[in-house]
Amino acid sequence: MAEGRTGTLTVLYFAWLRERTGLAEEQVSPPASVTTVGGLIDWLAARDAGHAAAFAHQAAVRCAVNQDFADAATPVRPGDEVAFFPPVTGG
């Protein structure tokens, strides 16, 4: 289905979110009701134990949509690249 294909998002995980999900990257097709980062997190966390563990403490999770910092209210659209990671610790 065209709708199914355009509904695909790329999701990236870094640091301990990568370790808990066991994934560096995945392509996902959430239902049309998922329209924000917050909705995407809820949907991802329900997928399996690894995702649930990664998102268990949402206060410790940061996000970027298309390489810009985002928050739970940020819209997500088909084709977006959504990244989840802990607070940054470089420098």
């Binding site: 870094f14 990671f85 607070p87 940054v88 610790t89």
Partner: protein, 157 residues
């Protein structure tokens, strides 16, 4: 335009500083900060540290940070280099440098660059302990506080 690099290889601090001055006579001062790997973290000895990053975002984030510094302090040159991969105690992690007509601008911009980089660039450190095991470094509230000093725009105290 700032020089921004993310690389596994080490950098040469003197070469980076010299490149900012070379051929110019309008610079009065260059501020520089170099971060290095400490062997001890919260009382535990490290054998190494791994720096992970988000490649598609990192270069953009560093460019944005450098551009902000260039604008706020009218910099005449700006360099940000961050290493990734496995680093040993004593090795370089990061270099930021800012060239300006006057020292106050150069030094303030240097502080700004490293404070913002620490809170706005997508790097994550994992520490590998001598006694075995490893752990992701937790973000420090002091770093957020240091970065928040620069929120209001313009020069600071």
């Amino acid at each position: 335009m700032a020089r921004v690099a993310v690389q596994e290889a080490d950098f040469a601090s003197g070469e980076e500083i010299a490149a900012l001055i070379r051929g110019r006579t309008d610079i009065g001062g260059i501020g520089c900060f170099i971060g290095t790997v400490r062997e001890t973290a919260a009382g535990r000895r490290l054998v190494a540290m791994t720096l992970e990053h988000y490649p598609a975002m990192t270069a953009r984030a560093l460019q944005a940070i450098a551009a902000e510094a260039e604008t706020r302090w009218h910099l005449l040159g700006c360099t940000v280099i961050h290493r990734v991969g496995r680093l040993l105690p004593g090795e370089n992690i990061v270099l930021v440098a800012a060239a300006a007509a006057h020292r106050q601008a150069a030094l303030e911009a240097t502080g700004f660059l490293i404070d913002w980089l620490k809170t706005r660039a997508p790097f994550w450190k994992k520490e590998h302990f001598l006694q075995g095991g490893d752990a992701w470094v937790a973000a420090r509230s002091e770093d957020e506080a240091a970065a928040s000093r620069w929120q209001t725009g313009g020069a600071i105290p």
